[in-house]
Symmetry: C2
Subunit: 253 residues, 2 copies
């Protein structure tokens, strides 16, 4: 079943993320969103506002995964070069899209803004692309082939994902189950590995964290198969009971 799940990559575009000025929030949002849709996010990249870098990343990722989601670089200023880069990646022309121009002109009229050349630059869309509506600030994103080009502002991007969702093929959702061990990873590692080896279709992750009582560990089981997940979770709980009984961990939940 897992073999048939659509796959995806995220491409974050912008100098401001690499300089540290902007702390990205888009990757986490898209990751959560795709998980709910049963689409496997397999890779993410962050590239600067350099056309060659964007072109290369788009072309590698769109050939490797079912979908590519980009954020950033579709505004009206000189550093917004994503649309041009994506057009070049697909080797198609880019020009003002009549529908996008209409959307923008109506919006500028409504809010009393001058429809200058820079603002209308946001209507430049690669040939063959379809628009992604932007209910927040109107300037649309676009889809070309399997690439979805969205804004970088989280509020706008989140709204665009809602527009994009109906276009996506979904997989069986991945279900997850978390068991928390009041102790370090080192004591669960060996029995956990043995359980992982018996359940190839359940992915078991181990994530230590600091709790007020000392180090603790979240054991996260993920699978598309609910019955398998339940069996594996039972074994992990049994392991937790035994570790607690032997005094190796302080408890579990």
């Amino acid at each position: 079943m897992a073999d048939h799940a659509p796959t995806a990559a995220v491409l974050l575009i912008g100098d401001e993320i690499l300089s540290g000025r902007t702390k990205d929030k888009n990757l986490g949002f898209i990751a959560d969103y795709l998980t709910v849709l049963g689409i496997d996010l397999k890779e993410a990249r962050v590239v600067p506002d350099i056309e060659d870098e964007i072109v290369q990343a788009v072309n590698v990722l769109r050939r490797r995964y079912t979908y590519v989601f980009t954020t950033g670089g579709i505004g009206p200023t000189h550093d917004d070069i994503t649309a041009d880069a994506v057009a070049r990646a697909f080797d198609v022309e880019i020009d003002h899209d009549p529908q996008a121009v209409e959307i923008l002109l109506a919006h500028f009229k409504a809010i009393g803004r001058e429809p200058n050349e820079a603002r209308l630059r946001m209507a430049r869309i690669p040939k063959g692309a379809s628009l992604i509506a932007n209910p927040v600030s109107k300037a649309p994103g676009f889809q070309i082939g399997n690439v979805f080009v969205m804004a970088g502002i989280p509020k706008v991007m989140n709204a665009m994902m809602e527009e994009v969702a109906p276009r996506l093929e979904r997989g069986a959702p991945v279900i997850s189950h978390t068991i928390t061990i009041e102790g370090g990873e080192g004591d669960v590692a060996a029995p956990l590995k043995a359980i992982q080896e018996r359940f190839a279709d359940v992915i078991i992750g181990s994530y230590p964290f600091e709790s007020p009582q000392g180090f603790a560990t979240n054991l996260v089981l993920r699978s598309r198969d609910q019955a398998l997940l339940a069996s594996a979770a039972n074994e992990v709980r049994q392991m937790a009971v035994e570790l607690t009984r032997d005094g190796k961990v302080r408890g579990w939940s």
Copy 2:
């Protein structure tokens, strides 16, 4: 001057980031840190806990940039495969490192933990690597060639960056200056582009945001040349004065 700055890539390793379960905070920290050191972060990638993916990303990035910083996947559990993947990327053996074993045994003794096989797995270090001290939880990271392998837990990674910093060649620091325009990007785009074209060695970014008074825009100028930066900033301020006088923006600061 900019041509001689060291460059870097960040490689975040872990299923939990791609599933959305963990919201990454390491990229932003490293980005800020490298900016202070004058090292240009050029790219970041997130890959899952799959050995082939890690090997491929490490090999691409280490050949392309001065430094590569990885986070995640160096704990004691079965899903921690970063050290093995990095050894494979460099085509070297990996085994228990005597110094790392000594550090761990002393630590386990001090806190009364059993030094089991899984815990000592954290002492497996690729041949030829040097350790990166971990003042928080002792299990070390390592440096091999130009690749720095660090923990995924932010507190531990942050401490490891402090250990790594003295080993890094620094560039002239990039200085930044921000001017905030009380208005949308569309009105600043044309004059800003003209300024950018006159200052090739100043990178000017335009970042819109929503303020209580409506859309506003941060104009961020970045350069290694303080005099050039000051000249460009003066022109941007002059632009802001004119846009405000013409009523195109509500003001600036």
